[in-house]
Amino acid sequence: MTRRAGDGRKNQDEMQPMSDDAIQVRRVMKSYGTMLAVDDVSFNVAEGEFVSLLGPSGCGKTTTLRMIAGFTDTSGGAIRVHGREVTHLPPEKRDLGFVFQNYALWPHMTVAENVAFGLKLRRKPRDVIRNKIEEALSVTGLSGYEDRLPRQLSGGQQQRVALARALALEPQVLLMDEPLSNLDRALRVVMRRELKELQARMKMTTLYVTHDQEEALSMSNRVVIMNGGRVEQIAAPYELYENPATRFVADFVGITNFLEGTASDMGGGMVGVRLPSGQVLHAQARVPVAQGGAVRALIRPERVTISPAELSGPNVLAGRVELSEYFGAVLRYTVRLDSGEILRAEVHNFDEFIAGGSRVWICTLPEHLRVIPHDPRG
């Protein structure tokens, strides 16, 4: 497999038995017939860390999480939890908390019974169980709901019960599969903050699956970006946005403009991107690119200056505004460059409004321009 930038935390393919990491996923695969749902996925989650699996629907996030929990068999690879190999253990032997997308609360049990179930299986004394129920429910803001049945609760409350049920067992690791995706947007934002705060307070090692980039970026220490069953990039949220390793990542996390060209070394840590028009854009070199190789220049819409007056400098592109949209806090321009490409620009602090049809000049600083190798996959 090709190793991607950002996956530098552990550079060995082989399992490290003595590693401190809470979760180690090594070269894990899952095939359904001829379809590879998960294709050679590796990543680690450190003790106390919050890691998200982020990617579009169907990219294999849930399958990966379910293999870690033991609900789905692996077709290859190995999974370790705190150094213990669990790849072939049944789910009940793994000691991992799991929060399901649809909560999966037992409908014939009250809130307290749902939370107590795992504790009873562990044959804890009665008063210990009572204390743990109380604690888990108070932490999740559910005190007073002990005797309710799941169907008597709102979606948000059910979600909290699912969380309380997992937390009461003090699992080594908490796995969550899109736990907020069934809530309405306002509640989702509130729960997101609560969840993150709780996780940080309890220092709970968490692996979180989501297709919502906002969730992943705002909650995680690191994000694993998946696409078509493969890992595209593993990086901290800031890195992911600022230094996307692939076109997919650049596209999936935020909006990006792409300009295709060939690379030319300019020395001094700078790389040039020669556009088909002959113009050369200047960028800071962050990833090695081959001289003369096909590359893409990435320009974030909010990292440009747009002006109706002619600008001069190396990274100036001329064009005409096709569409200008006013959203109150932000102005969005769709600009047709003279070279024919479309470029999107966003202006947050604006004191002039450039009308559609106007001729404009767009400038971006070399440190805001990213260059990635041209990926034949797209």
Partner: protein, 286 residues
């Protein structure tokens, strides 16, 4: 609410009235009549028919109590046989599912008489089963499989088990596999997850199956008539005989009233036994 529901339900209510309530009322009324000269029904208001039944230990023990026992045993065996089948079928899909469903439903579709005569061909003294067993030297003299209690129970199970399977399937299909996974995740073994999550959640289906199968078994008359002997005088058979062979409609009616009342009592008892809490918790969700 009632006012809104009444118009669409009206035809069903009328049908219910005509085909269920009126006959029931007529049976109740007839049970207080008298039979004169062993032939004519005479309008009366007497409890003689009830007294005749309740005062005779043969009726009490050999028909009523016998019917209850047979019905309970056959129902229990139907559940024991039907539950694993339902658990297996719920995991299948597509063609396999359709074939299994057809096999389960077959006893219900074939019709009782065909079924019983098919069974006779297989199970009678010189039937297929005995011939096969003797040919294979499993035993050397024909074994009696029918015309006794054993045959009646076997056939009642054969007819009753499909209802158990169908009503359990209904419950099982509502159980999300995630609920089992959630149980495994917090430490339950396969067996514990079944026992603590799946089994309680099938209570409504199990109870519905029991209600149908017990009632069918308790009031059975065709099976004991065709496959039983003088020791299998189930109450349904006695009613059939009194009503259609002896023309004693008042006595047959009294027996019917007693049968329905006892049946209702036992079903209420079962509901209590099955834990009203669990049924209520799950029922209200529908």
């Amino acid at each position: 609410m009632i006012r809104r529901l009444l118009p669409p339900l009206a035809p069903a209510l009328v049908a219910l009235l005509i085909f269920v309530a009126l006959p029931m009322f007529w049976v109740l009324r007839t049970s207080f009549n008298e039979l004169a000269d062993g032939a004519y029904v005479v309008e009366a208001m007497t409890l003689d028919n009830y007294a005749r039944f309740l005062g005779d230990p043969w009726y009490l023990v050999n028909t009523l109590w016998f019917s209850i026992r047979i019905a309970l045993v056959a129902t229990a065996i139907s559940v024991i046989c039907g539950y694993p089948v339902a658990l297996y079928i719920v995991k299948t899909t597509g063609l396999q599912r359709n074939i299994l469903m057809a096999l389960v439903m077959a006893p219900l579709l074939i019709g009782l008489v065909t079924l019983v005569y098919g069974w006779i061909v297989i199970f009678r003294g010189g039937g297929l089963l005995n011939s096969l067993m003797i040919a294979l030297h499993v035993y050397d003299r024909p074994v009696r499989y029918m015309w006794d209690i054993k045959g009646v129970v076997i056939l009642l199970v054969y007819i009753g088990a499909p209802y158990v399977v169908l009503s359990l399937l209904d419950s099982l299909e509502r159980i999300s596999p995630y609920l089992v996974e959630a149980a495994r995740n917090v430490g339950a073994s396969r067996w514990t997850a079944f026992w603590k999550v799946v089994f309680p959640m099938t209570m409504p289906g199990l109870y519905a199956g029991l209600v149908i199968v017990f009632s069918l078994n308790f009031s059975a008359f065709a099976v004991p008539l065709m496959i039983g002997d003088s020791n299998t005088q189930m109450i349904g058979l006695i009613i059939y005989r009194e009503a259609l062979l002896n023309n004693d409609l008042p006595f047959a009616s009294a027996l019917s009233v007693i049968m329905v009342a006892v049946n209702a009592l036992i079903l209420v008892g079962m509901a209590a036994f099955f834990g009203r809490i669990i049924l209520n918790r799950l029922e209200a969700k529908r």
